[in-house]
């Protein structure tokens, strides 16, 4: 079971990086894509197959899928589609390009990857990383919309693939990866309450790999703060 192959998108930083580190640390085989070049990966990045590509273009997403298929020899145990971006600003402050880029990365790339990786995922798991923002976060309407769409997509696919492959949409609560600040949100007192990326990665990986679980899961304070790994090794997570 330890030679399970795990594929992560957006593995060069943020939650994706923690997912890569964690899965690798647990002894799984891991491969990932990221937007940053190899030279910009952290020094302690594990020695695993890495593809640098921009998933917000259709060609990029197709290239990533083909690369993953090639690397995996046609069998992926778990795909964690995590790469995403968005802006903390009103709809009127967006641009036509930012609208289509966010939708392309957060929704279309994942549809393309699911479509192409479908045969390799037989008997495996497709985990789509959503966000609690999908409920309609007023501060980031386009991001919320894209994550809502990912949710509708994942739930439909979960039912279609049931019995053949497992599909789960996992919706994290706020994580201290700096994404919120990069999205343009002014840091305030609430930032101190953001969840640690490592603890979130534990919960996300466990939720993705669990034999049983709902198609749609929220992974926020309740689950992250009371995760066994955190309770056992205080400070480590």
């Amino acid at each position: 079971m330890k030679d399970k192959l795990i594929f992560v998108t957006g593995g060069g930083s943020g939650l994706g990086l923690e997912l890569v580190r964690l899965a690798w640390g647990r002894g799984y085989r891991v491969m990932c894509t990221g937007r940053r070049g190899v030279q910009d990966l952290p020094d302690d990045f594990p020695d695993i197959p890495y593809l640098c590509c921009d998933l917000s273009s259709q060609q990029g997403a197709q290239q990533a899928a083909d690369w993953a298929l090639g690397q995996s020899h046609g069998r992926i145990d778990c795909a964690l589609l995590n790469a995403a971006a968005g802006y903390f600003r009103p709809l009127v402050a967006e641009t036509a390009t930012s609208l289509s880029d966010v939708l392309a990365l957060n929704l279309e790339a994942n549809m393309i990857l699911a479509h192409r990786l479908a045969p390799a995922l037989d008997g495996g798991t497709l985990a789509l990383i959503g966000s609690v923002a999908r409920k309609g976060a007023a501060g980031m309407p386009v991001y919320a919309s894209s994550k809502g769409a990912l949710d509708g997509f994942g739930r439909a696919l979960a039912e279609e693939w049931r019995g053949r492959a497992c599909v789960r949409v996992l919706h994290p609560g706020p994580i201290a990866t700096g994404m919120a600040a990069r999205a343009g949100r002014k840091p305030d007192f609430a930032d101190r309450l953001f969840l640690s990326p490592r603890a979130m990665a534990h919960c996300v990986l466990d939720a993705a790999l669990a034999r049983k679980g709902a198609d749609r899961q929220v992974i926020s304070y309740g689950r992250v703060l009371f995760h066994p790994a955190r309770l056992l090794r205080r400070g480590a997570t």
Binding site: P90, A96, L99, M111, A118, A137, S145, A156, E160, A214
Partner: protein, 249 residues
């Protein structure tokens, strides 16, 4: 109520909405569509050719200019949409991507443009036609379900900011199967047309929706299914799998 803008007016719910608006003297109704204008327009319809899935900047800029001469609009109904049914992997990627673009990216761009150009009249209504699938799930139409959930999240996110900035009421309509050519094309084999709700009835409910209401589930069937789906999402999804997806294959 003053000026009306509707996307997708040549068939189904969109046509019912256009007809009802004309009947109620809300003409000229501005319609965005990719089909040619119907003959019997006689000045009651202001038909504008526009492809919601257009990726280029120029057609959107041209549309903005055109609409600035006709707006601002008191009632905007984002109705245009397409579907693709079958096994997700069995449908070409290009089809899935156009569903996402017509049903979700297009509306995002249009609302963005309307806000930018100040074409949503204060006190008006912005109505997004989503689907009952938001509550029940829709296996066998993965990209369609995605787009409709995306619209629902968008409506929820825009609701407060638009109410605050211009007392614009954002409204989410989640119809179940309607008796339209669209439904007939995508219903599973053996589905009964007489169980589907009449689009004219849905159109009436939309036009009469009070300013303060957020969600419209037209008809008792949709209301029941939505409540069941909200309470027991997993069970509802399995039922949809059995009655819908299994029969699509």
């Amino acid at each position: 109520m003053g000026r009306v803008l509707i996307t997708g007016g040549s068939s189904g719910l969109g046509k019912a909405l256009v007809d009802l608006c004309v009947e109620r003297g809300l003409a000229p109704v501005c319609v965005l569509d990719i089909d040619p204008a119907p003959d019997a327009g006689d000045g009651k319809l202001d038909w504008v050719f526009h492809d919601m899935a257009d990726q280029e900047a120029a057609p959107w800029a041209a549309l903005s200019e055109t609409l600035q001469k006709k707006g601002p609009f008191d009632l905007v109904i984002l109705n245009a949409g397409i579907n693709a049914t079958g096994r997700f992997e069995g449908i070409p990627l290009a089809t899935h991507l156009s569903v996402a673009r017509v049903n979700l990216l297009g509306p995002l761009r249009l609302v963005h443009m309307l806000l930018h150009a100040g074409l949503l009249a204060p006190g008006g209504r912005l109505v997004l036609i989503s689907s009952l699938s938001v509550f029940t799930g829709y296996p066998g139409a993965a990209s369609y379900a995605a787009s409709k959930d995306g619209l629902a999240s968008l409506a929820r996110a825009l609701r407060k900011p638009l109410r605050k900035s211009g007392n614009i009421s954002v409204q989410l309509v989640c119809p179940g199967p309607m008796d339209t050519p669209h439904a007939a094309r995508h219903a599973p084999e053996g589905a009964r047309a007489d169980r589907r709700i009449d689009p004219a009835r849905v159109a009436r409910q939309i036009l009469e929706l009070p300013h303060g209401r957020f969600v419209l589930l037209p008809g008792p069937g949709a209301k029941l299914a939505a409540v069941a789906g909200a309470l027991f999402p997993q069970i509802m999804m399995r039922i949809m799998g059995k009655v819908l997806f299994a029969r699509l294959k």
